[in-house]
Amino acid sequence: MAEFSWLPRSPLEHALVAGAYGARDVEPGIALTEIRNFDLVQIMARRGRWADLANAAKARFGVSAPDTPKAVSASDVTLIWSGPDQFLALSKGGKHTMETLSQAFSQSASLSDQSHARALISVTGAQARTMLAKLSSIDLHPAVFPIGAAAATSMDHTSVNLWRGNDRPDGQAVFNLLVFATFAESLWHTMLDAAAEYGVDIGHSEEFA
């Protein structure tokens, strides 16, 4: 009987080459980091049950579920608005998986596992907004898209969930984006093309930024 290993493989494993990319004669203006191996559950309210879902979410996560395009962070989970009466629960370490959440929301919501359906990319650096302006038609000005703002939108004709996390210690804004796994490599190449002129620092991590 053969011995099987079940190593997960990120959809960006092939395309992502850690290190410097693009212009070398400048301080890298962009940092791209893939965050690997996370739990992601889509939680959608059933007919007329948003209030029940919100109560259940508050009880389970300790924060109010987002009912407008926002990302709400608790200590061990980020709730990302993904559409009317629905949001994504993003976590690590098995705390909020399909299995553990389905009980809490069995009456009020339909849950769908998206943990493997997406790649998660964190974009930061002095030129992050400039680079994202090539990919995104939405306004990422700090006054319009502050920390905690979220959007279900498209980049390069590809659906993404974009939200702004907490700033880096150096004050740089951090943009997180979830992209569908089968599109991830394609969008990654597009991002590299858009970012190359600013100099890119590429990495991957098992931890959230």
């Binding site: 959608m44 309210a45 007329g48 948003w50 559409g83 009317p84 279900a152 498209s154």
Partner: protein
Amino acid sequence: MRIVCPFCGERELGEFTCLGDAKPVRPAAGASADEVFDYVYLRDNVAGETSEHWYHGGGCRAWLKITRNTLTHEISSVEPAAGVGAAKVGA
């Protein structure tokens, strides 16, 4: 063109798909073939304000009813479809 999605805010046209005239209403089960024929095929060709079904497929996946002036492209209202999200109807 920009469309103000009632859920997402102002977004560019490329995130949306237009299905067309929102005036015809799908006849209930048991309707005659003529009624269904009208629903499927008969459309007004309006020069002026018209209501249309649009899908925010590149965003929140809500179906919207948009009132648009075909002469100026001016959008005067954007409403969610009856069954968007957890739709308070039929609860």
